[in-house]
Amino acid sequence: MLVNAPSMEELVEALRCLPGVGKRSAERMALHLLSAPAEEAQRLSEAITTARARIRTCSICCDLTEADPCAVCSSGRRDRGVICVVERPAGTIAIERGGGFQGLYHVLHGALNPLEGAGPDELTVNRLMARVDKGDVREVIVATNATAEGEATALYLSRQLGTKGVAVSRIAHGVPMGGGLEYADDATLSHALEGRVRL
């Protein structure tokens, strides 16, 4: 009987640290791991340990990487004059998947959020400023989320970078490709109209 088995309870608790995993999902995962071949659980455990040991933040762009500097920062094919600033490492993955950007990245590891006590000191803003101060950068593209916190971060960066003689731009927000206007919400539509471009 697994109920009250300390090792089972510990496994369930450990799995609950994953985003979106509640008690029931954790129990299902734990039961799967226990009933699957031992090698499967071993492989998962080793993969987590190895990834945790090898993956760190890039000393240049602060993205997660196995080699420091990361593949993007050390590539000779990237435009070193353009930096795209994102909130989280997931942002770089999404933009790389799109394939249209050839510059470098900078990961802030969050956004300014006064209500949660997150100020510039909690982000990697100082390291971004140090990169810009080196003088190779022509443009900084702020690709923070289209939320109040993302907008505040963009405005803050624009103010800080404004004195450094680099162009600061913001990614566009609006109707998604393939999306019908009738399905867009009010806030997105009003943003799209504000950010309209002349044809």
């Binding site: 979106g20 006064p114 209500l115 510039p120 939320t147 109040a148 103010r159 919400d185 009010d186 806030a187």
Partner: protein, 241 residues
């Protein structure tokens, strides 16, 4: 029971891969926390309306025994875009949102606090002066709506009239006369600004006031609500020389 209400988004926390728990300030029920399923999905209709500061109309299932209700609909009434588009307005506006959060409670009607918050934000969108000054005025309006405004004419210790000019000040209630003791001292110009700002109920006065006024009132608000304000820490971080 399904309910419909107006509300201002006070805060939002991600929950699971696609949902979000959003806390609204509503006039009838004070703080209402709602689970918004699918709010983080791309193309979600409700997600975009639930940004901080937004004034929205919401429909939710209310169950007395639950601490988190279920939201079914949200439509944007006012996004206060001018506040979000100005860094300083947004920064000080965050303090005002946090103050409204600390002054209100779950399930306790907050009609006056709600009305003050909305009219404050409407005034802030048109404001062209120093946002810190406007925040001082908003703080007074919210404290007044929450029944915690500082006394500006009578001593909080003995009730005696405190003549114009510099005076002592207690974070426990307001101005203090010369005969009673208090740890803080107000300069004549700060005292005068406090009186002018307290009297201006409809819109923020346009005359200048010492920047110490906001510091005084934000500390007063922290003392009165017994809470540490996270937004104040960020304001200090950003405004330090």
């Amino acid at each position: 029971m399904q309910e419909r209400s107006e509300g201002v988004v006070l805060r939002a926390v991600d929950y699971s891969e696609t949902s979000r728990i959003v806390t609204f300030l509503t006039p009838g029920r004070g703080q209402v926390a709602c689970m918004v399923k699918g709010a983080r999905r791309p193309g979600s209709h409700t997600g975009a309306a639930l940004d901080s500061f937004n004034r929205v109309e919401i429909v939710y299932y209310w169950k007395e025994s639950r601490s988190v209700q279920t939201l079914t609909e949200a439509s944007l009434l006012d996004g206060f875009g001018a506040i979000k588009a100005d860094f300083d307005k947004g920064l000080y506006g965050s303090f005002i949102l946090e103050l409204a959060y600390k002054l209100s409670g779950e399930g306790i009607a907050a009609e006056e606090i709600y009305a003050a918050l909305v009219s404050n934000f409407e005034d802030l969108t048109r404001w062209t002066g120093e946002p810190r000054l406007h925040a001082a005025w908003q703080t007074l309006r919210l404290l007044e709506a929450g029944g915690l405004a500082p006394a500006v004419a009578s001593c909080v210790e003995c009730g005696a009239y405190v003549p114009e000019g510099g005076c002592k000040f207690s974070m426990k209630g307001g101005v203090v006369c010369a005969d009673c003791s208090a740890p803080h001292r107000l300069r004549p110009e700060t005292r005068q600004a406090l009186a002018v700002f307290s009297d201006a109920r409809r819109a923020c006065p346009t005359e200048t006031a010492p920047s110490a006024l906001f510091t005084l009132l934000s500390r007063f608000a922290a003392e009165q609500t017994g809470a540490a304000f996270r937004s104040l820490q960020v304001i200090e971080q950003i405004t330090r020389p």
